[in-house]
Symmetry: C2
């Protein structure tokens, strides 16, 4: 149970909530809690008070609601579609986790998702737009109050949207403050296979802050003030990387919210906390290891990252 | 022209010297100076006085000798085989530098290479054994004076030797202080695809210090006192990565020699200097960019690495 400083700002996470079934080279999960917004909101909740916007179906287990609540996540923005089932995803990782394939997908309630932001959420200062359809990301941006101050928007996207809704993605880029994507998506958007060229190219497309995730190799930060490299926190045993990138982004927005800072110095620390946080996600199926970790263990990994990188 | 501190120790580099012809996705080199010992000795010479042990043929251009000399590299250990030509290698990098293929290979004088260490070299305190046949690495180790103090041995190897001379490689590991190899070779030797497990496994095989190189992602250091991550210094344009790993190792041995330290703190700085040094190698064919760089530019990249990694 986190106790947030009085000065902490709120985060709002908009994104998918899913029931996942994941096969890895070594194990098979039962039907578990998944979705970018689940991972990101739990990660964010370690740093700042967190609001969740998403949709679930009539079959969504009460225990998952209880898990959100155990992290003090505000679920006033969580809609339940009594007519449909929850978004379902089943996937299988290839040998050595080199890519994954979707085995089964049931959009269900998620198909008609059009996020309505509760009035009480509209002044949230730090907003994360998960990799939902870019037109929906724009729809969320439009609903937020711009006075007295517009929110800070962090957005994720994914290759499918870059290929099928490229113009909308470009529109989103113009309206956000920070983009968090992986190296392949960065190349797809910019045509640059060198992330050190893709990062600045993405900044020119709109977001003043760009983070390029490189999986097991960590992440790169591109900021007006310079660039920065954080390694992935090394884990003993990779169980399931699903949601690691979402946890990474959730920790970023949470750290920015609790410090109310987005300068280069704060962002560097945010990336280190994000690397520490996301490493737990890889140690179990679903949000279990992330949810069980506790802030003290995240802080320990943050300090270990200092020791691993300082010379 | 480097001025070494009076306290600087010597390094000795043993390895291949070659004439290379390299094709990249974007360009084709003429016949240029190559070979692990060429790259490593130039890199080492930026830090410490450097001795070179290798063999060349009757066709070895005088300008390459002049280049070694311009870096004050001692070439008393450089043998010339008047009966044969110089070791020749021609290779082509695949698209996006994802691997390379050997197009032509002429071992020539290198086939009969059996390094004889000049008497004046036998007390050199910091020795780098390039990735030559492991039985030759053992032969070099045997020739070095062990009194009053045995040298510090850094060795490299490569997949071919691990596959064809595994027992000799294992013997070498038992006799060296430091192993510098890439991630694929580390997996081949240990069966561990996670470098954070491969590193400690390699330390158990002999060397107390292990460095695992990860190409464009940098390198990992495993030491009794802990582990450490250094990113690759980002370059504007990759021209040819040939020799980057050798330059990396050469800078490592050079930095250890000039500081006469092999503790964790010194090793971390050594890795940062090695990353800075190797980045120049990638910016041209052959040793040109490395040779032209100058120590001040290497120091600039070292400081840039501090800024890129400190949080």
């Amino acid at each position: 149970m986190e106790v947030y400083p009085l000065s902490a700002k709120y985060t709002m996470i908009v994104g998918s909530i899913a029931l996942d079934r994941v096969a890895t080279p070594e194990a098979q999960s039962p039907l578990v809690l998944g979705g970018a917004a689940s991972y990101a909101s739990v990660a964010s909740s370690y740093f700042a008070p967190t609001r969740l916007v998403g949709i679930v179906g009539r079959d969504f287990p009460a225990e998952h609601i209880a898990l959100y609540k155990s992290h003090q996540i505000d679920i006033d923005g969580l809609e339940t579609d009594e007519a449909r089932k929850t978004f379902f995803w089943s996937g299988r990782y290839r040998a050595k986790f080199a890519g994954r394939d979707t085995l089964d997908l049931g959009l269900n309630c998620f198909e008609k998702f059009s996020p309505t932001i509760p009035a009480s959420y509209r002044s949230t200062p730090y907003v994360m737009l998960g990799a939902i359809q870019p037109s929906l990301q724009l729809h969320v941006i439009e609903q937020m109050n711009t006075r007295p101050k517009r929110p800070f928007f962090l957005a994720d996207t994914f290759d499918h949207w870059i290929k099928t809704a490229h113009d909308d993605v470009v529109q989103v880029l113009r309206k956000i403050d920070m983009l968090v994507i992986n190296d392949e998506e960065a190349e797809l958007l910019t045509g640059e296979d060198n992330p050190y060229r893709a990062g600045p190219a993405l900044r020119k497309m709109g977001p003043s802050i760009v983070v390029i995730k490189r999986g097991a190799y960590g992440a790169l930060l591109f900021h007006l003030a310079g660039h920065f490299v954080i390694p992935a926190f090394p884990i003993e045993k990779l169980v399931d990387p699903t949601g690691a990138g979402d946890s990474f982004a959730g920790a970023l927005i949470g750290y920015m919210a609790v410090t109310n800072r987005t300068d280069f110095g704060a962002l560097k620390k945010a990336l280190a906390f994000a690397s520490a946080t996301a490493s737990f996600t890889c140690e179990s199926f679903s949000v279990k290891a992330l949810s069980d970790a506790g802030r003290l263990e995240i802080d320990k990994r943050f300090r270990a990252l200092v020791n691993m990188t300082r010379f």
